[in-house]
Symmetry: C2
Subunit: 361 residues, 2 copies
C-alpha cells in the first residue's frame, strides 16, 4: 500500500493505492456521519460489495444502484440519485461512497458536491482509468446531450481508496482501455514510468491484477502531482488533457458507442503526437516510440470511416476551446508537454488524416 | 446608491443597492468575457430589458428565457439552460447575468456555478425578496421533486445590482411577499430597521418603488453582514432561516401553489415567535410587536385547513434537520436569535396549532 497526498487549496486528502487499501476507510471517523451510502452498479457490487464490507467493517451501508454505462452520467440520473438519498434519509452529515468506474465516480462526486449544497464523499475506483486518473483530483461532471462533462463541479473527495485486486474481474477490453491513460501519464511525466511500461506491458492484464499495484501507484502519482499544483485547471492541469481534444470529439461523433474512453484518448494521443511531429515540435524517433507503445496495448476500434470535417467541427465546441481557439496539448518529448494555440486548423486536420491512414497490425 | 461589500472566503464582491445601480455592471471588464448571456423571464425582460441595456451600455447581450414560476427551478430546467448556453457558444470565459426574482437567481447561479465547472455570474434581482435576501450570499439551488433547494452549490456572484425602480411593475402581492423577508431581517438585526418598518410600512408599495432604496439597502446590509461572517452556513448564517423551517413545510404541503415564498415565511415567523413565547424565551409584548408588524403587511393565505401532523412530518426532512433533530431558529427579542435543538416535537406542534387559530383582521 502506498499513501499519496493531494494538497488542494480547498482541501487535502489521501489517495491510498495498493492491495488492502479499502481498510483505510477506517481513517475516517464513522461517528461523524449520520448515514453512509454507496453509489454503485449492480455487476461490480455483486462481485465486490461483500469484500468491501468485510474490509471496511462499516455496517449498515445503504446502496444506491444506477444502470451501468455512460447514460448514467446525466442530469436526470443525478436528480434520481439525489431523490433516492433524500428518500433514504440522507442529511448534511451523510457520507457518499462512489464505488465503481469513471461514470460512478463522476456522477457520485457531482451528486455529493451538490446534495444539500455538498456532503462528504469517498472515491473507491474499480477500473484502471479511475484508479490512476479520474477518481483523483476532485473534478466531477455529468453529460448534457452529447456534450461530455458539460456540467460539473470542483469538489475534492475526502479519500480515494484504490485496490488493484478489484481489476481482476474487469473484461480485457475495459482493462486495456485504462492502460492508455497510464501511458498518457507516462508521456506527461517522463522516462521512469514510460520505460517501466515498455518493459512490463505484457504483465498488465486482469489475471495479474493483484500484483500491478506499484505501477498503478506510480501512474496515480503523476495525477496527484499535477492536481496538487493546479486544482482548477488554470494552467498545468491542462497537460492531463493530452489526447482528450480529439478523444472527446471521437466519442461524441460515434455517440459514445464505438470507443471506450481510453480508446478514444489513445487515438487522440496518436493524433497529437503526429501533429507535434509534423510541426517539428518532437523528434520523429521519440514520436514513434510513443506511438509504438500505444499500438502494443492492442487493437483499437477503427476511425477510418469518420469524416475529418465533422471531427474538426466538434473540436471547436470542446471545453478547452476558449473564444473559438483550441489550446492544443502536444508532446515535445516523453516527459515534456507544450500547450499551444498556434496550430492551424488545417494542420490539425492533416494530422488526423495521417493517423486515419495508419495501418494497424 | 449604496455599495455593500460581501467578504466571503471564496471571493469578495459588491452589492450595489439603489437607483441607477445597473450602470455599475461597467465595474466589470467586458473584455475579459467572450460572450455575455442574460437568463431571464419573458415578462420582466419585456418590461425592463431595454432599460437594462441602456443603463449598462453592454451591446450584444444574448438572452435565454425560461418560463416564469417555481417549476423553472428544476434539474431539467438547469440542463436546458446549459444546453442553450452551449448551443449559443458559451465557453469558460462567458458571463451569465441572472435577471429576475428568486427563481431566476437560484437557477442562474446553479447553472453558472456548474457550467463547464463554473463561469462568472452577476445577480440582477428584480423582486423585493431577491434584492434584500436571495441574490446575496452565493447560495444557489434547484428543487428535486417536492423538495425545495435539495441540490445546489455555494458560489458567490461577481456582482449584485439591485435597482428598486424595477419593483414598480411588481404586482402588489409579490411585492408584499418580499416585505416579510425585510421584516425577517429586522427581527434578526434589531430595532433600527424594525422601528423604521413600523413607521414607514405604508410607504413600502410598488408605486413608491423609486424611493424605497434606502430601507431595502438597510435590509440587504443585514444579509451582507451575516454571510460575510459565515459563508457556508456553519453557524451564524442559520439565523437567516428564521421562519423557514415551518415555511418550507407549508410550501411543500400545498405543492407550492398556495403561498408565495415570503407568505409561507411570514406564517413560519408567526409560528416560531409563538413557540418562543410559549417556551418563555421571548417576552409576550416583544412577541406581539413582531406579530403585529407581520399582520400589518396584509392578508395571508389561510393555513387553518392544513393538518398539523402532516406539517410536522415534513419538518423532519428539512435540510436544517441533522440526524433527525430540528435546529429551531427562535427570536429571543428583536435583534437576538437563538438556535435550539431542545424543543419538543409536541411544543412545536402546539405552537403551530395556536397560530392556526389566530383570527386575522
Amino acid at each position: 500500500m502506498k499513501t499519496l497526498r493531494v494538497r488542494a487549496k480547498s482541501n487535502s486528502y489521501n489517495v491510498i493505492e495498493g492491495r488492502g487499501s479499502w481498510r483505510a476507510l477506517g481513517t475516517l471517523d464513522r461517528a461523524q456521519y449520520t448515514t453512509v451510502f454507496v453509489l454503485t452498479e449492480k455487476g461490480i457490487w455483486e462481485k465486490w460489495g461483500g469484500a468491501f464490507e468485510r474490509a471496511t467493517r462499516w455496517k449498515d451501508l445503504r446502496t444506491i444502484i444506477v444502470p451501468s454505462g455512460e447514460t448514467s452520467k446525466s442530469m436526470r440520473s443525478a436528480e434520481r440519485v439525489a431523490g433516492s438519498l433524500l428518500a433514504q434519509g440522507a442529511d448534511r452529515r451523510s457520507l457518499l461512497i462512489a464505488f465503481g468506474g469513471g461514470v460512478i465516480g463522476d456522477l457520485g462526486g457531482f451528486v455529493a458536491s451538490t446534495y444539500m449544497r455538498g456532503i462528504d464523499y469517498v472515491q473507491v475506483p474499480t477500473t484502471v482509468v479511475a484508479q490512476v486518473d479520474s477518481a483523483i483530483g476532485g473534478k466531477t461532471a455529468v453529460n448534457v446531450g452529447a456534450m461530455k462533462n458539460l456540467v460539473g463541479t470542483f469538489a475534492p473527495p475526502r479519500l480515494v481508496l484504490a485496490d488493484p485486486s478489484v481489476l481482476a474481474t474487469l473484461d480485457e477490453r475495459t482493462f486495456r482501455s485504462g492502460l492508455y491513460e497510464v501511458i498518457k501519464h507516462a508521456v506527461i511525466s517522463g522516462l521512469s514510468l514510460f520505460r517501466r511500461l515498455e518493459e512490463d506491458l505484457d504483465k498488465l492484464v486482469p489475471s495479474n491484477a493483484r500484483n500491478i499495484g506499484p505501477v498503478l501507484a506510480q501512474a496515480a502519482q503523476v495525477k496527484v502531482n499535477v492536481v496538487s499544483r493546479d486544482e482548477r485547471e488554470a494552467g498545468l492541469r491542462r497537460v492531463l488533457n493530452l489526447g482528450h481534444t480529439f478523444g472527446h470529439a471521437l466519442e461524441e461523433i460515434t455517440h459514445y458507442r464505438r470507443f471506450l474512453h481510453g480508446e478514444a484518448v489513445a487515438w487522440g494521443m496518436l493524433a497529437v503526437t503526429t501533429l507535434a511531429a509534423r510541426a517539428g515540435l518532437i523528434k520523429p524517433a521519440e514520436a514513434l516510440r510513443i506511438k509504438t507503445l500505444i499500438f502494443r496495448v492492442g487493437k483499437l476500434p477503427p476511425i477510418r470511416d469518420l469524416r475529418v470535417e465533422k471531427v474538426m467541427a466538434l473540436l471547436l465546441r470542446d471545453k478547452k476551446s476558449v473564444g473559438g481557439r483550441i489550446h492544443w496539448v502536444l508532446p515535445e518529448r516523453i516527459g515534456r508537454i507544450k500547450i499551444s494555440a498556434d496550430i492551424s486548423f488545417e494542420d490539425a486536420a492533416n494530422a488526423f488524416r495521417e493517423v486515419q491512414q495508419t495501418r494497424l497490425s
